[in-house]
């Protein structure tokens, strides 16, 4: 009886352990499959050939798989998104955490949640029909489908992530810090900007990093609004093509196992590695400040 029960308990625990370990297996397999498919491009072309500034995957004379334009595209769009999103999102986080009354907070939060829940294809669509004509008109451009439009749309999409984690960090600053500052005669705003925000800084930085991670991996929106030219952009008004959009747009048509196929997997592998690093560091930062509380 005792033994049977003991075995059953062990068995149940093992089953749960196995299911929980599936996540490890999945992550390992993602790295393995993308790494294997991506890196096998180097059996066909030398390492140096992917570090060029031309991405001409389908060409009769000489296909080229330079990832520099794609990296540049992703970088530019991400930079625009973050420059646009961070001040607005952190400002909103400060407002919601420190200034808004409870009722107002309850009113504001659902809007941020809805914003977070809008599917990226819908964002892309809205970017096409609302934002891009606006950008075109304001800057008198020939087309509104460019890095700026993409960056702005992605910025809006990064906002909910940054707000929710920053707000958490700001609220978690011990009351005693704030009271000490207020007791010294500092005004509420001085306290907020000189004490509260610096104390919450690591949390805010982590939120921005997670925002970057989200933005750099975003696919449908950028594919729909950036114009998709695989060239190294010279300004925010140039059309760009990100790593994500390249994969999404071209993967459907490549022959299985071709150099182009492997090149796209290589792009995916690089993307995976970048987001992994960013998220890993962000988690470390978050973990530290949570322990520091």
């Amino acid at each position: 009886m005792l033994n049977f029960r003991g075995c059953k308990e062990k068995g149940v625990k093992t089953v749960f352990l196995i299911t929980a370990s599936m996540s490890i297996l999945v992550v390992a397999m993602i790295f393995l499959f993308l790494g294997k498919e991506g890196l096998s491009i180097f059996k066909e072309v030398p390492l140096s050939s992917v570090w060029v500034d031309k991405w001409y995957p389908v060409s009769f004379r000489k296909p080229q798989f330079g990832i520099i334009p794609l990296l540049a595209g992703s970088l530019l769009v991400t930079a625009i998104a973050i420059i646009f999103a961070v001040p607005l999102a952190v400002g909103t986080a400060i407002y919601i955490a420190e200034i808004a009354k409870p009722m107002e907070r309850e009113f504001l939060k659902p809007f941020i949640e809805v914003l977070a829940g809008i599917p990226s294809v819908v964002n892309g669509f809205l970017g096409m029909v609302i934002l891009s004509p606006l950008v075109k008109k304001v800057f008198s451009l020939s087309t509104g489908l460019n890095a700026l439009t993409g960056g702005l749309m992605l910025g809006i999409m990064a906002v909910p992530t940054i707000i929710s984690i920053s707000e958490d960090a700001i609220r978690n600053v011990p009351q005693s810090y704030k009271q000490a500052s207020l007791a010294l005669g500092a005004s509420f705003l001085q306290t907020t900007f000189k004490v509260t925000v610096p104390a919450a800084l690591s949390g805010i930085i982590a939120s921005v990093m997670l925002g970057i991670g989200r933005v750099i991996g975003e696919t449908m929106t950028v594919m729909m609004v950036t114009g998709n030219a695989a060239i190294i952009p010279h300004s925010a008004f140039d059309s760009v093509r990100t790593m994500t959009a390249t994969i999404a747009a071209e993967m459907g048509e490549v022959p299985f196992g071709s150099t182009h196929y492997h090149a796209l997997f290589l792009v995916g592998f690089i993307l995976l590695s970048i987001t992994f690093l960013i998220n890993y560091i962000a988690q470390k930062v978050l973990h530290k400040y949570r322990l520091g509380e």
């Binding site: 625990k13 809006i156 509420f188 991996g217 449908m220």
Partner: protein, 284 residues
């Protein structure tokens, strides 16, 4: 002094302005979609297949396809996510394995959706030979929502106070009896709530199914889980980008957007209502 007060006021108003800027954006988006989409919605639009390559007719196959994908995603991800959460909250001790599992989950949460697409393509479509199908797409989406379900389920399990477990163990119940009879019954609702939020995310995703399940134009309903399907988000993408006369099909684009948003927001609302009812039921 007065000058300082004015400065403070200005900063206040700037912060307030920024916050309400987002309220405006969201309200405008919802309003725009509703106004321009509602005119297209009709019985025919919802119940007929698309015609003329999508420039006319309805979106039934896309609705059905998305529902199939969502349903299969639930079937795959829910048991896996919930039992992972049970392990993490009830059994896991501090140690390298637990840390590794947590690292894997947070990594998974940050993997870009197109990378899931690539992975789904190489594992489910090619390696397992599912082909581009509901099955392959659902497995891919299930991995995408897995971290959301795990985190939500963990929270639900942790909301059952520790003394519930102690009291049961003190009566001579085994650990599994305690979990099964005295923890799961009270946390199942909360687990479902969080999971619905994850599912809402899956319903709107395009990139993961682009390579694993979605059909460009397939005006019939799927017969089996090995069929390709149309899906609402992908259909919207096609309508918005792949038509020679993009402006002519604009109303259809809005109609599709409205249906997709209604589905996503509907799922979220369902989760919120469920959460409120559960909160009333168990006040520890």
């Amino acid at each position: 002094m007065p000058k300082k007060r004015t400065n403070e006021k200005i900063v206040y108003w700037i912060l307030r302005g920024i916050s309400y800027f987002f309220v405006l954006i969201v309200a405008y988006i919802l309003f725009d979609i509703f106004i321009k989409g509602i005119g297209v919605i009709s019985w025919d639009f919802l119940t007929q297949a698309p015609k003329k390559g999508g420039t006319a007719g309805g979106i039934l196959p896309a609705i059905v396809g998305t529902l199939y994908l969502v349903l299969m995603t639930i079937i795959i991800s829910l048991p896996l996510g919930m039992s992972s959460a049970v392990y993490l909250t009830e059994y896991a001790t501090q140690g390298w394995l637990t840390r590794l599992i947590r690292l894997a989950i947070s990594t998974l949460a940050g993997v870009p959706s197109i990378v899931f697409g690539l992975f789904g393509l190489s594992l489910f479509v090619i390696f397992f030979g599912f082909g581009a199908s509901i099955l392959a797409g659902s497995f891919t989406l299930a991995l995408l929502v897995l971290p959301i379900i795990i985190v939500a389920s963990e929270e639900a399990l942790r909301s059952v106070p520790p003394y519930m477990r102690e009291a049961s163990l003190a009566l001579g119940a085994t650990k599994w009896q305690t979990i099964y009879k005295n923890v799961l019954p009270y946390s199942l609702g909360g687990m479902m709530t969080g999971s619905i939020l994850g599912i809402g995310r899956a319903a709107g995703e395009t990139a993961p199914i682009l390579l694993t399940a979605a059909a460009f134009f397939l005006p019939r309903l799927p017969d089996s889980i090995f069929d390709q399907v149309m899906a609402l988000p992908y259909h919207l993408y096609i309508l918005a980008t792949q038509h020679p006369e993009v402006d002519k099909v604009r109303p259809l684009q809005y109609g599709t957007t409205l249906v997709l948003m209604a589905l996503v927001i509907g799922l979220n609302l369902a989760a919120i209502i469920l959460r409120m009812r559960i909160r009333k039921k168990y006040q520890w």
